[in-house]
Symmetry: D2
Amino acid sequence: MAHVDVEKLMETVGPKVIATRRDLHQHPELGLTEFRTASLVARRLKDLGLELQLGRDAMDSASRVGMPSAAALTQCFERARAEGADPEFLPKFEGGHTAVVGILKGAKPGPVVALRADMDALPILEDDTNDHFPVRAGFVSQHKGVMHACGHDTHTAMSLGVAEVLSHMRDQIHGTVKFIFQPAEEGGRGALPMVKAGVVDDVDYLIAIHVGTGAPSHVLRPNVYGHLASNKFDVSFRGQTAHAGGRPEMGRNALLGAAQAVVGLYAISRHHAGRSRVNVGVLRAGSGRNVIADTATMLMEVRGETDEIAQYMVKRAEAVLRGAALAQELEVDIRSVGHTTTADSDPDLADAVARSSREVANLEVHAEPFCASGSEDATYLMRRVQERGGRAIYTVIGSDLPSGHHTTKFDINESDLPPAVDALARSILEIGQKQTTH
Amino acid sequence: MAHVDVEKLMETVGPKVIATRRDLHQHPELGLTEFRTASLVARRLKDLGLELQLGRDAMDSASRVGMPSAAALTQCFERARAEGADPEFLPKFEGGHTAVVGILKGAKPGPVVALRADMDALPILEDDTNDHFPVRAGFVSQHKGVMHACGHDTHTAMSLGVAEVLSHMRDQIHGTVKFIFQPAEEGGRGALPMVKAGVVDDVDYLIAIHVGTGAPSHVLRPNVYGHLASNKFDVSFRGQTAHAGGRPEMGRNALLGAAQAVVGLYAISRHHAGRSRVNVGVLRAGSGRNVIADTATMLMEVRGETDEIAQYMVKRAEAVLRGAALAQELEVDIRSVGHTTTADSDPDLADAVARSSREVANLEVHAEPFCASGSEDATYLMRRVQERGGRAIYTVIGSDLPSGHHTTKFDINESDLPPAVDALARSILEIGQKQTTH
Amino acid sequence: MAHVDVEKLMETVGPKVIATRRDLHQHPELGLTEFRTASLVARRLKDLGLELQLGRDAMDSASRVGMPSAAALTQCFERARAEGADPEFLPKFEGGHTAVVGILKGAKPGPVVALRADMDALPILEDDTNDHFPVRAGFVSQHKGVMHACGHDTHTAMSLGVAEVLSHMRDQIHGTVKFIFQPAEEGGRGALPMVKAGVVDDVDYLIAIHVGTGAPSHVLRPNVYGHLASNKFDVSFRGQTAHAGGRPEMGRNALLGAAQAVVGLYAISRHHAGRSRVNVGVLRAGSGRNVIADTATMLMEVRGETDEIAQYMVKRAEAVLRGAALAQELEVDIRSVGHTTTADSDPDLADAVARSSREVANLEVHAEPFCASGSEDATYLMRRVQERGGRAIYTVIGSDLPSGHHTTKFDINESDLPPAVDALARSILEIGQKQTTH
Amino acid sequence: MAHVDVEKLMETVGPKVIATRRDLHQHPELGLTEFRTASLVARRLKDLGLELQLGRDAMDSASRVGMPSAAALTQCFERARAEGADPEFLPKFEGGHTAVVGILKGAKPGPVVALRADMDALPILEDDTNDHFPVRAGFVSQHKGVMHACGHDTHTAMSLGVAEVLSHMRDQIHGTVKFIFQPAEEGGRGALPMVKAGVVDDVDYLIAIHVGTGAPSHVLRPNVYGHLASNKFDVSFRGQTAHAGGRPEMGRNALLGAAQAVVGLYAISRHHAGRSRVNVGVLRAGSGRNVIADTATMLMEVRGETDEIAQYMVKRAEAVLRGAALAQELEVDIRSVGHTTTADSDPDLADAVARSSREVANLEVHAEPFCASGSEDATYLMRRVQERGGRAIYTVIGSDLPSGHHTTKFDINESDLPPAVDALARSILEIGQKQTTH
């Protein structure tokens, strides 16, 4: 019965999901500045009759890392206001507290089932040629240099869609459905503060979603594992300038120190116990050709198949950075700006979601384990649920992509969104109905 | 007799020198975009009755390196027009041909004596606090991020002062006086094109000047030697991006290649025959923390006590750069953007200038050899004169500096300018009068 | 019935296995110089009535890499002669062709089952203290600096033990049993030449054995997988000496080039598809403190979870080495001195061996997959058998080790050898009897 | 008159100088093991009637650095005994105290004039082909791997020749002549302990000599300057081994740390104030291809045109070494094994020696300053004399060399030795006679 209702509701909800996605895509917001997005999400959830947990109530302020500058926070906040942010909710998010939780209480007793979406965009300049569908369809980013290039606009839109569908079916809902909208997945900054605020402490089942990531259109993969634990650092070296021709020995060369650190970082030994990674993605050093450089900054990250391997990489990286600083007589500042952990999907929950989802037309479901290649801070939420005895899965919603994640021409196939909303709504309903205990 | 006249003329010329300097300081122009400066210099020289050689007539277009972008050339040209560039002469300099030569023919036969000044400014953001004299006196740079931080404004102003003095004394002049105003000394880009255009091919005596550089106020040092030959390069590495977590081996890491190159460059062996230098002053690489960097650019330079040593450094640097590219499977582009050579002051000419200058009140003259620590492309002009059998010197006009060359608070003591103009005018007169042959 | 006979035969064969092991341990021989060992193996097999395939008949001379020097070959050959090598067979192995195959034809038709052992020792100085059992028991290495520190002495002794047992049971043997004794497993040099000579081209079942490697005493693990493909290189850089004080720029610094290569090698990117390794284990460079070093040699290796990953590492390593040579203007010679591939155990054959082995008293058998951490050139033999449709396994014979493989105090527990011989003999008999086809 | 006598004495002394040189050449001894050499020198001086100061009386034991091992000291001591060391004096030198001073008191009052020679050989394997004169003439080194490849054999022989000449002319000698025979010039280890023992505290004039070093036969250059201050270090890194395939992350890689240190050392910035040098001449690391290396040792040196520059290099080198150790989590041991300072020749004393030497037939004397390119610990003796108000020179005795210093075919032209002895004897006599005060 439930699925009959869901199917019917999807007739109106489906187009709304796409419209919402396009609005968000036009107004992308970087991590911890999702002021407009969060306020509109809150508005929609409130209007659907959900209870809300917003801002500092949904995230622990002190656990945040990798904060934007105060100036950036203010500027983005004002931009959100100017671009239609909801005036009732906007103030709740001030200062970078852009977390939203919506709570839908079912008519019948049952477990707490949560759906998690992320809301942030990336510092990428979106392609503006006609090749790119958002250009042709008129919803390309209006924020120059910021782009939804990883599909979080679709995650938010789909979650709102599921909320709308289920809000009309309260009487069929066993237990409670929580809609978790997290800021700043990019960089691994948004999930842990929400965990610390306790938002999943009562959750029995958690479904985290991601569009794309290697699966084609019409395919759902609810059993993803293998996200790498990661730690992101901003590193700055500070030395002393000197004229390179006249007094070279008076300099303390931050550019040279950074170069030695880079080579040393990539040379950190592999770990026998599993995958490890290191990358210095950005390096900026020096001010003039004939001046010994006194500053260098690096954006870097390490990863590991387990927290232990990631910690090994962190420890080794710090030694390399401090060694380079010592060698060139520099000061070094190593600032943690984000991190993720590991968590694998629960096979039983994956099977349950697979069963429900297979009823959706044109959706192929692969419930066998599927290895992720990147990192995700949804793992903090999943791990917290699993540590408390709950079940959690990470679900990939396949879509044919014209260009890869994090590229200027990234896009998804919008026709993949409604079936996914349908599948998620059914799955959440049926999880509650079965009162699966664990 | 001559000096009596010079002294008298200085009463009116002195203040003009300072006023000109302040106007130029307010309107600094980077190398090869000295459109306003060059046009005003030409105007003044013309009004003083000198013959002119301008633009392509005074510099070989094809010998230029380190050109600004076409956009920058256009933008600076239009800015010059808007800020009072002389409309008659401005078109002569279009496209970055900002060289000016003024020719003053004396009433009597004699040698050709040349005075060389440079006109370009630096890409430095001038200090805007009240500590800084140009702020208090209201002539701080109006071009944000561009600054006369090496005193070339004073060189141009002093040379114009000498021209004005001597233009009133034609009947006392033996031979010809050439006033050479070169663009783009910074980076070593302006002198060689003027040499190639033949502007010093008839010069018997050449005096190049520089304010500051280690001598205090009231001191003239006409016997500078030891400028290092230098070669400046812009280097770019190009590789291939890849996701640092998901497909690291697909990347070709330009940031890593650049880091290896940096370490290798500083490790180039010393040369037994004299001083050598290498510096990578600026390094920029990569676009995102979790992306293997596909681009890296470096601004670098090498120097040597002789052209041979500088060439050794160039050869070794190229090997290091190409080796790093090979190791990381990158393309590398090494673009020469400037160079200087070596030339020592002629002791006899230095003595002659010293003798004349000692007559100026409050000016202390040190004619013993004084070692420079940097590089200068005036050396190309000096060397050409010396190769043809002429004599050339590099003269430092001392000044107490509140802050070193190429710093944001660089300034000179303006009271040092008039005595130097006086000394140079006398010297040029007396060199001609003595008809010194060589 | 067969096992009754095997058990009985073991009463006499067991002590012989230990005696043989001790004799071999006292006379260790490095890879491709196993002259004494191979000749004694041949003698024993001949005396047991087996057919022989020796030297160039059992290995392709041209496929050998990492050869000892001619002088070392001669010296070891003469040492073998002096230490009791069998005079009939010794000449067959001259020049480093130290392969032996023994063929035991059963009375009944059936498949070809092969047992593979390796015979070479390591360049390690054996411990000479009383802590070390071979010292107390009087069979410590008599060849200074050469040691059976990986247990190949036991492999050879056990294989001979199996041959002796089975030689008395011909009438019960279905098919043919091949005993493969390979040289030079260390460095990955001995197996491929035997493959090229065709010694496993008729083999239906292959069992390769290794003592120790992570399993405790009384445990047999017949289902080992995950050996890394590996490539070993000797690298030498050649430059030019110069006096470091007087003419440093005249040098071409091989030590510096090697140092840059080392750092670059460790910095080769991880591969997303699986484990990779790189190591420079030995570096020797230069001759005098005040001389620019003109030579540097490195012993290095790369590994990969697959041949593709190993080849990626080889390709990247070569680029790094050639880049370092280019940067320092050196010649570089990269000589392949050994390599291994990958091959996983066949689960069905592992199960068959497990079933037979479980009948042996005091032997615990674990037939589940067991991941190896190193490399093995038995993989070439295994792969060849598997490619032709046969089955192959790599079997670990557990033993409590007082000190790890490749250490100066390495030893095994001799009481683990007879049960393993028993288990292997039974397994080989029963494989033949079951006439398992594939 | 004096020179008549010197000339006559040279008829017998000249051939002896050559014979002594050949004996020493056949029995070369490394620094601080010059047991045979020192004992024979002492014997000769005693027999000529000189007073002696030997061993610990002539050198401060505690000031020695870079000591040979106890085993090497014992072995060389015994070898010396076996090869004809003088039994009376040999015991004085035990334990590496191989300094000799001979004191010749003149009949008349006057100053103290000292002549300094060094006695040590180098760890070089002498060429054994017929091209090499010592082979043809039958006096090639009998100590395999040790060679007089820098001519110290000739210095000792010439000084003994001067002692013999002057010992017959006591009545003509004004003042005292000191003959200083120092050990261990190579590595900069012998002179400072003799300074600390006070052997030049009463010296008014010091002449240090060296054969070859860039001057041709028949040329004397008594005015050498510019020896670089130098500091020599033995550096060892200690880490932790691990199996490179199985547990790479457990290693602490001393080879990698050393490689990073090497690159960092060569990258130490040039010093504006003068020449600097750095060299890592020898690097040895690791034990096996597939083992993470736990040890690395480097023989290195730094130099500077002044002590200040040398100290700058030392300070920077230590930072680089400690930085590399920190980066790879290694222990590092930096042991000072030798050092030299700077001291220029006194022009007046050089002129005096030049005047006396010009009287010698076939000797061309160049008294103008001559720049050395290496380092010398005679500078410690020179500096001490100069600090106390005395005068000191470093004199090069030219000789056509078939092959450079420190090469396997190094040799000198023996016909250059007698004229030099003649010139030195005359010079010493005349310095005393003129009673030059200072």
